[in-house]
Each structure stands twice: as C-alpha cells, then as structure tokens.
Symmetry: C3
Subunit: 273 residues, 3 copies
C-alpha cells in the first residue's frame, strides 16, 4: 500500500503550491521534484488564488510568516478548500511566539486541513490553543519515545479526531493518525535533526503524496513519513568520511530521487495501532 | 565567438543586480560566481536604484513576486534603462496567474529589455498579452521539438522583432533570436528539469554574459545557453551511483566553475538559422 | 582558549535568532547546526520580539533588507539589548546604497552591539557614517594585506573602541579587536570568495560562539573566524577533480560539522597584537 502511494506520486506528478519559509524553500522544491511532483511557490495575496487553482495541493508552512504572507495563506487556503484541493499545515514554531500560535490556530479554525504536520511541541500548542483539548495532559511528554508512546498515540488520535484531519507528529518516533488508526513509524536517523528543514521537506512531500492518493490519505501521509525517514537512512549509508550535514542534506534528497515503490515497501518500518 | 563571450565574463567580472525569487536565489548567486561574475540581490524599492547603479546588468525574475518587489522591479528597471545597463526579464509563471502575466506584460511595455528568457509557454503568453502577436498560432506547440522546430524558430524571430529584444526560449531545444538570426541549441539533458531553478540560474548567467559582451549580445546570450546546457552534460557525466537531483545541482554549478572558452567552444552544439 | 570556545558552543547549543537575507539563509542555518547551535529565522515586526526572547543571541544581517525587516531589526535589537542577549551586526553592502548605509548607522546608534562583522569597505563606511572617525584615513587600504596590516590593525582597534564593541573585519587577513587587543588571523582560502555567503555564515556562527562564551567574547569571536577559515582549508583539502564552488560550499559546512576543540586549536593561525 505505501509503495503504491509513492507510485501514484510518480505517475500523476501532482503540482503542489507551497507558501513556505525562505530558509528551506529550495530544498522543499527539490524534494518535491525528487519524488516526482512539481513545486510552485507564491505568497503574494494577489497571486495565490490563481496559483493554487492550477495545483492539486497546498502546503502552508508558517516558518517565516509575515503579515503579507499570512493574508496569502488564508486566501489560498480558502480557495483550496473551495476547490477541494488537499491542504496541509506545518505550524513551524507554534508555541514560540504569539503570532505563530495565533496564526496556526486561526488557520485551523477557518480552514479545513487534510493534514497537520508538526513536532509534538507544536501539535500540543495547537491542541491547547484551538480548544481541541482541555489542557494538554501532563503525561504527554515533549518527545515521543518508547516510554511515552502509549500516551502519545492516544493524544495523536484524540487531536486528529477533534481537529477533523490527519495528525502527523514527527520526531524520534513518528505518529500519523486519522483519529481511528495510528501509524507508528520508526524510520529515520537522529542526524537528520542536524539539517535544517527536513520537517519542511516532509510537509511538502506529504502534500504531494496525499494529493496523488485522494482515496487513501492516511496511508499516503504515512508513506511520505516512511519515505523521508528511509531516505535519511539510505542517504546516511552513502556518507563518506568527512561528510557532514550539508552533504547529508543532498544525499537525502538524492535518495528520494531514486526511491521507488519496492524500496519503500521493503524499507518502511511501521505498525498500525 | 561563444568561447570569447565566456572569457569576457571571466575577465570583466560584471556585477549583476538580481531581483529574483527566494526559491532559487542561492543557486543564482553561486552560478554567477562560478562563471566569474558577481551577484547582488536587492528588491526593496528604496534600495534598488542605488544598487543597480553600481552594477552592469539587471536580472528581473518574477518567480515569487509581491507588490513590494514589483515596485522594485519597475524602479530598478527604469534606472537600468536610464544608465544603459543590460536588462533581462525572466517571466516565471507568466500565464499561470493574472498578476504574473500582467506584471510581465507591463514590464515589457514600460521598460526596454535586452533579453527576455522563458519557456515556450511563458513567451507565448507574453506574445499574446503584449499584443506582439495577433493570437498565438495553433501550430506553435507547447514544446520545441524537432517536429515543431520550424514554426518555433519563426515564432522566436517574430517575437524578438516585435518585442525589440533578444528572445531566449529554452526547453528540450533552445532558441535564441534577435529577430534576424536564431541560434538553435541542442545542449543540455532532460534530467535538468528535475532540479529547481536551472532556468533562473541561466537567466542570471545570461545577464552576466550579455553585460560582458555589449557588442555581441546575441552570441553572448546564446553562449550562456550553451554553457548552461553543457554544464548539465558535464555535470551529469560526473554523477555517481545513488546521486540524484540535489547532487546534480551542485555538479552543474561546479561544471560552470571549471568551464573555459575552449571547453565551451568544443562542447557547444548549435546552428544558426 | 579558542578550542574551549567551540566546546562551549557544542555543549550549550545556543539558540540564535537570525534576521538575515534570503540569499544565504539556508547555509546560515546549516552552519549553525553544524557547529552545535540552533537557528531560528524571523523578520516580521510582530513576531521578532517573542522569537528573540527565547534565544540567546541575535544576528542582524542587512543583505536583503526591506522596510518591514528593518522595522523587525530595530524591534528585535531593542528586545535583545533589554534582555542582555548577544547582538551582532553584519552590515552587508553598507556603502553600496544610501538605505544600507543609513540603516547600518542607525542600528549602530540605537542599539548596543557586541560585535560588528564586515569587510574593510563596509566597516570604513560605518566608521565614516557613524562619526566614529573623522574621515577614513587614506592609508586604510581597501584590502587588509601584509603591507597595509599595521594601519588596518590601528583602524580596527580605533573603530572598536569608538563603537564600543568588537570589530571583526574579514578578508584575506582577518582582524578581530575589542579596542585593546587585535587578533590577526590568517586562516582561510581565496576560493571562499567564490562562494556566496561565507561572510553571512561566519556572522551566524560568530553569534553562536559569543553567545556561548559570555565571559570571553573577544576570543570567542576570534575562534569563530578561525573556525570558518580552517573549515575553508579542510573543506578544500577534500575537493576532488571537477569539484567547484557549489560542492566547496557543502564541504566547508561539513568541515565545521566535524570540527572539535582539538582540531581548531591545532589549525587556528593567529597572533594577538
């Protein structure tokens, strides 16, 4: 199933509109091309509705938000909803500033997202801020580990159910839930955290996967997580002496470029709870 | 001749002002440095006239345009015209949104460009929008191939003549025309399309080539196209097992870094019609 | 001492807020991660105060300034001053436009910087514009070489004393002075000038080094300069036939990633005057 999701991306080549931060945008574009999709970037309010109209999915990332791009996020998001396009939110830094938290919560309230993808801290912030939880339980730790896994899975399901979308919570262990099922994914390497933007790249790629698999959004989102983590493993295996995080960044995107359904099926490490 | 154009870039080291998108801007800067030129980026209306005044050429790319940067494009463009600097337009996404089409057409109307460089779809949009054609002929295909070449060459010449500048239409086969002659260029590799920004990089480099060769603008623009395509070929030859589009991006810029007149002369594949 | 400064960065992992240009921002983020620090980027006036509050240092780089980000620089800078955070200015292009010169001078006047880092031309512009010098002496050459070194060291000390901060003047020979002492550093390679953003990367890394070494700001700033230059040497030693400036960029960041106190101590080439 996960392999099929990747094949559909390569065969359909979805066009993905990204309103994303200027830090990692180049890598987002290249990983979208690597997986067989096509990227377009536009954040100007007067431009975004036209651009999103010709795409299949919209990836909203608030990493370097500003007032102009926030307006663009709402306009593009409403248009994407109107057209039934796939819509993903990456609430970068929610919890780190009032503007980021408020913007992410307002986006959740005013738009229908197919997926919200962030780390546990960001998703907890959204759970609290959007009233989808009555306070975040103390037993939801700040990192998803084997020890905290049961509580985290329950939290992911609960958040997904109340937010009405797929929740993708990524970290050492990744969780992808639609409220009923929860994929628990153990691909990836800790060194990926030393590269800027692996999360942003995943959000872009996940938008493409979900767009190309409208009937299977949950496995598609999980497939994107597995593909990113597996690329981290395969890219790391190609590292040579002296290679560091900058070269690792290239090798991860390269690994996505060469990944096919069979490689993904074989390398994906997950269970469904 | 084409080799000389590159030598002049390396010897004169032109300073190029780029008002360009934030997706591929880093690669544009590095390829300008690779070919012997120097980049400066500035898009703030209050800053652009001073910056363009100390440069030799101005590269306007509308890839992630916004209202502020559009104002900067007009201010910088008028100053560049006033000073007789080389001016290039890369109408990224013309045809994909009203704002992009309108901005590109208005830029064409209000400024005198030395070169307009885009893909066939963008240039057809400009031909239609600027009234330089009475409707785009049905026989101008959406890709320049050996089959559609004759019509495309005629279109390139016609567009260049009516727009009063060099038209560089890039794709599987590249066309560079000043209205009289048309370089038909067959360098490059299809895998270049899987890297974000090879077109943006070419526009930056082409601005440098034309700036360094004011008496030979047409061959200079053609030389930049050949150099980019040849770098794609040379870079591809250095790809190792497992390398993908991210590494390919580096190898293309690296190939420009090492390219000299002799390599370009030997590797350029073109005919003049 | 310099090695200890690097160890402190790796052990403390300072969070650095960067208001920087969109040309080189990705490399700035990756080099901060490579040296053991963490980057956050934010330039929206409504966002910057919250973001800088959770960081330890703030790196202000005016490379692609605009009116919005300039407002963000002042707001964030005042907050950083209020909180006693490390504050660094990289006056990219001061002297190249009135807006850049004026902005840099106003930042110097209204904020207390710990470090100002630029090339000799930019620092001379600031010396003149801020009234910290009565005209720049004719004997301060436009490049710091062995021949012009004595005058340049005197200038660096004088600028640092009058500006009330550390001055880091980088070029073929680098100078880092607090007004009393001046580190004269001879690490680095000329080929680094063919990569966009090595200066921006250094400013980011220097902010991390000074933040992690509050009791030893001068040696910490010097250590960052040595680390960057040494990474340029180590990265160059790993270049293979055909590698150019794009690959070199990766290798420099990779070299920082693997650098530790012992490597830095052994490779740093400096004297204190």
């Amino acid at each position: 199933m996960l392999g099929n999701c990747m094949t559909n991306v390569r065969e359909k080549g979805p066009l993905v509109h990204n309103i994303t931060n200027y830090v990692t945008v180049n890598d987002v574009a290249n990983i979208l091309l690597a997986c067989g999709a096509s990227p377009i970037m536009s954040d100007e309010p007067e431009d975004v509705e036209d651009i999103t109209s010709i795409c299949g999915g919209l990836n909203i990332n608030i990493g370097t938000l500003n007032k102009r791009s926030i307006e663009g996020m709402f306009l593009a998001g409403r248009k994407a909803n109107e057209l039934g396009h796939v819509l993903l939110l990456d609430p970068v830094g929610a919890g780190a500033s009032a503007l980021r938290t408020d913007t992410a919560v307002r986006l959740m309230e005013e738009l229908r997202f197919d997926v919200i993808r962030g780390n546990i801290s960001e998703i907890k912030t959204l759970a609290l801020g959007s009233g989808t939880t009555k306070g975040v339980d103390a037993d939801i730790a700040d990192a998803v580990t084997e020890e905290s896994l049961d509580g985290a899975v329950a939290f992911a399901k609960d958040f997904a159910k109340k937010a009405g979308c797929i929740a993708a919570i990524t970290g050492a262990i990744d969780l992808v839930s639609d409220g009923e099922q929860c994929y628990v994914i153990r691909n990836g390497r800790p060194e990926m955290g030393r590269i800027t933007g692996t999360g942003c790249q995943l959000s872009g790629m996940m938008t493409a996967f979900v767009t190309a698999n409208p009937e299977n959004k949950l496995p598609a989102a999980a497939a994107a997580v597995c593909a990113m983590g597996l690329a981290g493993e395969l890219g790391y295996a190609r590292m040579q002496e002296g290679d560091g995080n900058s070269t690792y960044r290239n090798r991860i995107i390269d690994a996505v470029y060469h990944m096919d359904a069979a490689v993904l099926e074989k390398g994906a490490k997950y269970e469904v709870r």
